[in-house]
């Protein structure tokens, strides 16, 4: 599957989509969900939690194991995808759309520069 051009990528396989003001919507990539396999459970951060870039802030569980999801940028969680509670398979079915995890209001929008472009992320996936 093609890696969307308009997103920012973390080395830990989260994508970030810049939205209005200083908000980013965050999910995991197609590559990440295909490596995980069937997602059966997601633990999301609570609303208004302050998360820190590169620190684990959510958990996604496949049949086989649990994996940490890292905040791509620092900031406050302003929205979480409650649909994932009953339909965690959305992460497999539509990783860049319906399968989003949460929205962060960034402390410092400059942090997006620390993330990878689609080309850089593609190289990272191929290097594996």
């Amino acid at each position: 599957m093609k890696i969307p051009e308009d997103l920012f990528y973390a080395k830990t396989h989260e994508w970030s989509r810049k939205e209005e003001e200083s908000k980013v919507r965050v999910g995991i990539t197609y590559h990440a969900q295909s490596q995980l396999g069937d997602v059966v459970y997601v633990e999301l951060p609570a609303l208004d939690t302050n998360v820190e870039a590169c620190k684990a802030c959510a958990v996604v569980e496949s049949v086989k194991a649990a994996y940490d999801i890292y905040a791509p940028v620092s900031g406050k969680v302003t929205e979480v995808n409650n649909n994932l509670e009953n339909k965690p398979q959305l992460i497999n079915e539509d990783p860049y759309g319906e399968g989003w995890f949460f929205v962060i209001e960034m402390d410092d929008p400059q942090q997006l520069k620390n993330l990878l472009s689609n080309k850089e992320y593609e190289e990272l996936c191929q290097a594996k």
Binding site: V40, Y41, E43, V63, K64, A66
Partner: protein, 373 residues
Amino acid sequence: MLDSSIKKTPLYDVHVALGARIIDYHNFHMPLQYDGIISEHKNVRNNAGLFDISHMGEIVIEGKGATELVQRVITNDISNLPNYKAAYTPICDDEGGIIDDIIVFKYNPEKYVLVVNCANTDKDNKWINKFKTDNTNINNLSDQIALLAVQGPKSEDIIRLVCGEECAALSRFQFTEVTRNEMELTVSRTGYTGEDGFEIFVNQSHCVNLWNILLEKGKAMGLKPAGLGARDTLRLEAGYLLYGNDIDDYVTPLEANIGWTVKFNKADFIGKDSLLRLKKYGLKRMFVAFKMLDRGIPRTGNEITHHNNVIGKVTSGTFSPTLETGIGLGYVLKRFAEQKGQVNIKIRGTNHPANIVNTPFITKTQRSVSHNQ
């Protein structure tokens, strides 16, 4: 990059061509999944799945002293087992610790094949050889024999089509030898999924051919490849133990709730004295199965707690595709196993409630419900 020192089964290229995700499993490149663990799991419960389990070891014991040697190293009693029947048994050390759990195939009193866990093949072979007598031969044929499993409610029809009526008519744990398409096959009605099913031993050189014939003929009955991921969730729902997770050298069969495989009435066997002593003085911990009461998914190593006291540890845990909830196996202090009831599983620092239950986790009724969905 795949490590070339790791072994492959004859089906490795077939798995890759099918798009399988390959993992290193005890020094074997094995298929974890093809389409996905949940769909493969459900296909085994509803139709049938084809597993490559050629990583399993086969140790042949032959000769006049074969029965005596087998009886000495296993805790179960195969003296009255009919020819062409198989039995599940642990092999224990002097302290009663489980060296391996295996299936013994009895051809006749002078020929047995032990099917052992792949991680233990060399360990078992060494151990058994310690007790070898002049009138026995022990051969490790693990690198020559491939093993396929056809598991699920449609497996009898598939086996009838590919291997013939005499194989389809086998009773549970019975086996037979047949020649089909110029391939010598040993077909047994055994498995590790909690479903009806068969396992087929074949020379490695015929393995790919047999796999292709099974898939082609079984297609109309819904037969699809299934990987080790589904094998694990299926065995867990059935409550079967996995060596290395649920049992090992530090656990005895009595604690592992497979005391029925220890036959104290037979002549001397290795581990007997220790196990008798343990039985007399009582166990400290006991094996339990538990089902989560919330959305938490238990994993190997999670603590089992009661009023915030640690009372045991999870040895296997997963999301049950059939029950759509977390299930697990583990050990707790004896009194908590006996009184059943509710415990907590500590997952990422948080207590999640679970009920201690009997295995199998899944009854036939639940299975037929999941068929209709």
